[in-house]
Amino acid sequence: MSDLSKMKISEARDALNKGYLTSVELTEACLSEIEKSVSLNAFVHRTPELAMDMASAADANKDGGDLNGIPLGIKDLFCTKGVPSQAASGILAGFKPEYESTVTSLLFASGAVMLGKLNMDEFAMGSSNETSVYGNAINPWKLRNDAAELTPGGSSGGSASAVAADLCLGATGTDTGGSIRQPAAFVGITGIKPTYGRVSRWGIVAFASSLDQAGPMTKDVRDAAIMLRAMSGHDPKDSTSADLTVPDFEAALTGDIRGKVIGIPNEYRMDGMSVEIEKLWADGTAMLKDAGAEIRNISLPHTKYALPAYYVIASAEASSNLARYDGVRFGHRAKLSAGDGITEMYEKTRAEGFGREVKRRVMIGTYVLSAGFYDAYYNRARKVRALIKRDFENVFSDGIDAILTPATPSAAFRLGEMTDADPVQMYLNDVFTVTVNLAGLPGIVLPAGLNKDGLPLGLQLIGRPWEEGDLLNTAYTLERAAQFVAKPKRWW
């Protein structure tokens, strides 16, 4: 029975449709795996009763959607009605939304079953899931001869860990600077950040609104295509959501990329890049070439400035978005001393409720937006962002269909390894992914090999805006060539 949770969404869908399997059986198998996997700390709020109700309803529904009866994990950043949704922050302790996010509404309308809420970095700020109020999520992978616990990446670390350890068939993630793609790479799964505006942000706790996008984290590219379609679509409640029809992404998976032009950006070849990452990248390039694509070297000259621009823009938007956590309408309020007024209430509440990294970013954001510095920092960063986007527009107008890059500068690292490092060191994890958010483009990461220590390494493909179908097909072709089948050895 326990093997059921290892199924891919496409396999389970077919088995459910043919009546070989019920959603109740599948959901029970996942719930049982979740119970046995407490040491991964991936699921932080479990909803077994709700899951069983949803599974029974799916079994009774003969005309369900694409995800009818498929058990999923939901990142804690998504508001789910009546179920704790606290963005892994102490300041939202006890918060149970009275509404359902658009993404989870769409998934449930498609028949998906929610198993519970998944661990993450606080307010999605982090690259190792170490800023969570729930404690670290743990990577199911280990180094070959070392028992040390590794990070599943972040911020969608719980989602990554849960999918890689087969606790669920797929999970939702969100990606502001790489928070779907870096964890996907660290645990050997597939994750796509769609074009900005493809997926509604309504009901997702906001971090940096001009960069945030939700997307699926799944066991393969086909599953990503199935789940992304169910999550996507225009939403009048999100004014930046695009009024475009959602194509059948799965139908785009032909495995034929003959004549497509793949760009290899010079600027992503960084000083001190490991030989393993270089080889992985070269191997991926060769695979796409063998599949009939034309390979072209390209230049994205402003790449180097993406991370500093990102930290100005994301922190500025975060300082504004997180102003709502004031201890008045929801979440935590500090105990006040006699004589404390409303300002003390705000200051004490926010000091107690926010973790260190969140405070740091809110204050940096406050600084770059403050009088006298707004032009020098915030406006300059927005200008650099325009140039970064223009770099991509130039290569796309030169005929590039997709861009191949490494996903991360390294494999998963040990939990605690970066604790004493300069925060900038941690930010470098997102060096290959953050450009994509700044330019609003779709980006997908898929596993492509193992490093010498037996840990998965991922490659990233970046596509043209709104052409997720084409991007998924290129990723599908690469997936078939790379034949990554390794799984973490069970220790949990």
Binding site: P236, S239, T240, H302, G327, R329, G341, R350, A351, D422
Partner: protein
């Protein structure tokens, strides 16, 4: 540009986050490191470049100017830490 303790104190105040006096030196150091990283942006020639306002070329959608939500005080107040007589309660604001 390096951030002094006085600036760190001002930023914490603006952000409405209580920071204990002994933590300011470390905070100022962290801010300075971050700003040092950010200052790479000064190398970029941004003459004549408009600051990005929207990453996708679409116009923001407008909706009809009518009330389309409301009438749910119980739901609105359900998560509040302190509620009195159907209102959010806060410490005294006006003397």
């Amino acid at each position: 540009m390096s951030i002094d303790i006085q600036t760190a104190r001002r930023v914490a105040k603006l952000a409405r986050i209580a920071v204990s006096e002994s933590d300011f030196p470390e905070l100022a150091k962290e801010f300075s490191a971050m700003l040092g990283f950010i200052e790479q942006l000064n190398e970029v020639d941004v003459d004549g470049i408009e600051p990005m306002t929207s990453v996708t070329p679409q116009r923001l959608k407008r909706r009809v100017d009518i009330v389309n939500d409301g009438g749910q005080p119980i739901e609105i107040l359900a998560n509040a830490p302190d509620v009195r007589e159907g209102f959010f309660a806060v410490p005294k604001v006006v003397e």
